[in-house]
């Protein structure tokens, strides 16, 4: 007699300890093997795009902090760049370099968190995460020095920055830049050749190159699949075209490649920081832009290479003090769409670490 079997449907989230924030995966399981996966999101929807229409251009900046709260500076940057494009203003050189410094610090901080939580998902019992926190803490101290906040910075302004950096910031940043490569090497050495990490991540959660492009993935997820696409190179903004750095790419597109890309990007970010500190010009940090911007009628799409991928703001102006329409392209959400294809036929444990390797923040996915 054949035993009757049936697949079980398990809810991973929204209160599951592994999901990053309130994200839910409806997983259909055959034993331990995933036969279907349906991502359910929207638990953290706050209507940020609609709120933009009821605020002036400047008033919306703090709300961008709360989207991807692990890389608020990048959100600020993407938004103000879009508005500047719309209004036709430009930030002074010092502000441009400081923006690069902030964005790259943010990238390191974000990748530390991403790699740490990803290893945590793999069951490394918080040790790597807490090592990563040690460095992230230093970055948060630096951010606090600049703008008094550790998570939601609200530092960028249309046409520059809210204020100049304090005098103690640069020496502290230089010390960080000097120490950081050693720490990255230390982490990499602990994880890179770890037999369990290799066995768990090689060939798991593969996102093929073609699928990555078709899913319009971006950031480390896309580069892990071997596509050399980095907006800092392909569509340079700020002063990135004057700075030297490499774009690391993977070959296979598995979880391990994504992890490696993040580690390499931290090294490259340190390189960018070094150059930016060296070339930081004196001068104003904010050009003469009125508090109430009245951009000309029109629409604009501004995008940057945020730590998680391409973060874009689409703004429509009707010459009022608030955008007529604001649409956000969050990298986490777009990268997440490829999740199902990555994990079908894998084990539950693989789904968890694949989700971890995409590096999502629900504040950004749901907005």
């Amino acid at each position: 007699m054949a035993l009757r079997t049936e697949p079980i449907v398990v809810n991973m989230g929204p209160q599951h300890p592994a999901t990053h924030g309130v994200f839910r995966m409806r997983v259909t399981l055959d034993g331990e093997v995933i036969t279907d996966l349906e991502p359910v999101m929207g638990y953290l929807h706050r209507g940020v795009e609609k709120l933009a229409e009821a605020r002036t251009y400047t008033q919306f900046i703090p709300l961008t902090d709360r989207m991807d709260y692990l890389s608020s500076m990048s959100n600020n940057l993407a938004y103000v760049l879009a508005v500047e494009k719309l209004a036709g203003v430009e930030a002074p050189p010092r502000a441009q370099y400081l923006r690069v410094i902030m964005a790259e610090m943010m990238r390191i901080s974000n990748h530390l968190m991403a790699v740490g939580t990803f290893l945590d998902d793999m069951g490394a019992f918080h040790t790597p995460l807490l090592y990563m926190f040690r460095e992230r803490e230093k970055l948060l101290d630096l951010f606090e020095m600049v703008c008094g906040q550790r998570l939601t910075y609200n530092y960028m302004r249309i046409g520059g920055l809210s204020h100049d950096i304090p005098p103690e910031f640069l020496p502290a940043l230089k010390k960080f830049v000097r120490d950081m490569p050693g720490f990255v090497d230390e982490y990499d050495q602990l994880i890179r050749e770890n037999e369990i990490v290799l066995a768990r991540t090689r060939g798991v959660g593969v996102l093929p190159r073609a699928l990555a492009i078709n899913a319009s993935a971006s950031g480390p997820v896309l580069r892990g699949s071997g596509v050399k696409w980095d907006l800092r190179k392909t569509d340079p903004y700020l002063v990135y075209d004057k700075l030297e750095f490499d774009v690391p790419t993977g070959a296979v597109g598995d979880i391990y490649d994504r992890y490696r890309v993040r580690i390499e990007e931290m090294r490259q970010s340190v390189r960018i920081l070094e150059q930016a500190i060296e070339r930081l010009p004196p001068g104003e940090v904010r050009s003469d832009v009125p508090h109430l911007v009245h951009p000309p009628r029109g629409e604009v799409y501004g995008h940057i290479e945020a730590p998680k991928g391409e973060l874009g703001f689409y703004l429509v102006s009707d010459t009022g003090i608030a955008p007529y329409r604001c649409h956000i392209r969050p990298p986490s959400l777009i990268n997440l769409t490829a999740l199902r294809d990555m994990v079908l036929g894998m084990k539950i444990a693989d789904a968890i670490i694949t989700l971890g390797s995409i590096d999502i923040v629900l504040g950004e996915v749901d907005r």
Partner: protein, 363 residues
């Protein structure tokens, strides 16, 4: 006066087990804290020493919840079934041997019962707890619990085999199944004589008690809290204490089987239960070290590890020990040299054959 002796020993074992479990919980949190660049619990009492007490009081005051659609009786019985065997293991563990020791001497081995089939008893008793886990997983009527219980069965059944085979090597070398005789036979600690056996036993036991990197049962990032997801209050505490009691049990058994139990290495100092307790902490520290360093393996990799890696290795170990036993080499220092070299060679070769995933592709 046998019954008096039994009562005394029951009290000793209960006090020993419970106080050590408390100590283990605190030690684990403190030591793992050190590994993770943080102080660990240090607020309750001096150096946080009252933290387990505070936890126990808190958990006793919690409501004991049974899921509405769960199987009431099985759900209530499961923690007891899972916890009791952990204490039963200590019935045959010798704390100190016969004769003069450090401070006082005994006229018979200090164990509740010096069974002549002690090893067999331990193997049998320690596999009972899996029944408790399955009961808990089934009765909770929760999918995570069920998945956890399924993993429990697979894991326990797989790791029992290499585990027992590695003990057989010990039994051959000592010529006895009684734990006391095994300790007495260790003029050279068996960890030196059978390093391969130690490795297999330690890995197998780590998996059997679900500690990292084989803690798939409690993979909270995957299946929440596994079979005890639906438990609360004292019943949860029994599972929790049970886990640590098993860790204590395994530490004790490793100390007895491989590290020479209550004997000081090479008999440099007189025997004492103090050495035994010190060895228990040593083995437990080793487990903590592994736990705070390594990520978790996947379920299929764990099964493959048991059947494809540990089982052949344990057969090789058994063959080696048996061959030495019947040949003229015997179990002296010559065997130590041979076995240490062979163990390193086997592990290196075998590990390189086993899934070695190479390649750094990012540049």
């Amino acid at each position: 006066m046998d019954w008096l002796r039994w009562i005394i020993f029951v009290v000793i074992i209960l006090a020993f087990a419970l106080s050590f479990v408390m100590a283990f919980i605190l030690l684990e949190r403190r030591i793992v804290g050190k590994f993770q660049l943080r102080p660990g619990p240090n607020r309750v009492g001096p150096m946080g020493m009252l933290q387990p007490v505070a936890d126990a009081v808190k958990i006793l005051l919690k409501e004991d919840i049974t899921p509405a659609k769960g199987d009431r009786w099985v759900h209530r019985l499961a923690p007891i079934v899972a916890f009791a065997p952990a204490l039963l293991v200590f019935a045959v563990v010798p704390f100190q041997g016969k004769g003069p020791g450090l401070g006082f001497s005994l006229d018979q081995p200090a164990a509740l019962a010096d069974l002549n089939v002690g090893v067999l008893y331990i193997v049998a008793v320690s596999s009972i707890s899996v029944i408790g886990m399955i009961m808990a997983g089934w009765a909770s009527n929760n999918k995570y619990s069920l998945l956890g219980a399924m993993r429990a069965i697979a894991q326990m059944v797989s790791y029992e085999v290499p585990l027992v085979l590695s003990i057989v090597g010990i039994v051959i070398a000592s010529g006895s199944l009684s734990l006391n005789s095994i300790v007495e036979a260790q003029s050279i600690p068996f960890i030196l004589l059978q390093p391969l056996g130690f490795l297999i036993y330690f890995l197998g036991a780590t998996a059997e008690i679900n500690r990292a990197p084989f803690d798939l049962l409690e993979a909270e990032s995957e299946i929440v809290a596994s079979y005890h997801t639906e438990y609360s209050g004292m019943r949860f505490a029994m599972f929790f204490l049970g886990e640590y009691a098993y860790a204590l049990g395994v530490s004790a058994i490793v100390s007895v089987l491989f590290l020479g139990g209550y004997k000081f290495p090479f008999g440099l100092l007189p025997q004492s239960f103090i050495w035994f307790l010190a060895k228990i902490f040593l083995v437990f520290f080793l487990m903590l070290w592994v736990r705070s360093t390594l990520p978790r393996v996947r379920i299929d990799q764990m099964m493959a590890f048991a059947w494809k890696f540990l089982l052949p290795l344990s057969l090789v170990n058994l063959l080696l020990v048996a061959a030495e036993g019947v040949s003229t080499i015997g179990f002296g220092w010559a065997a130590v040299g041979i076995n240490v070299i062979l163990a390193i060679a086997f592990v290196v070769i075998w590990a390189n054959r086993f899934y070695r995933v190479k390649g750094v592709t990012v540049g």
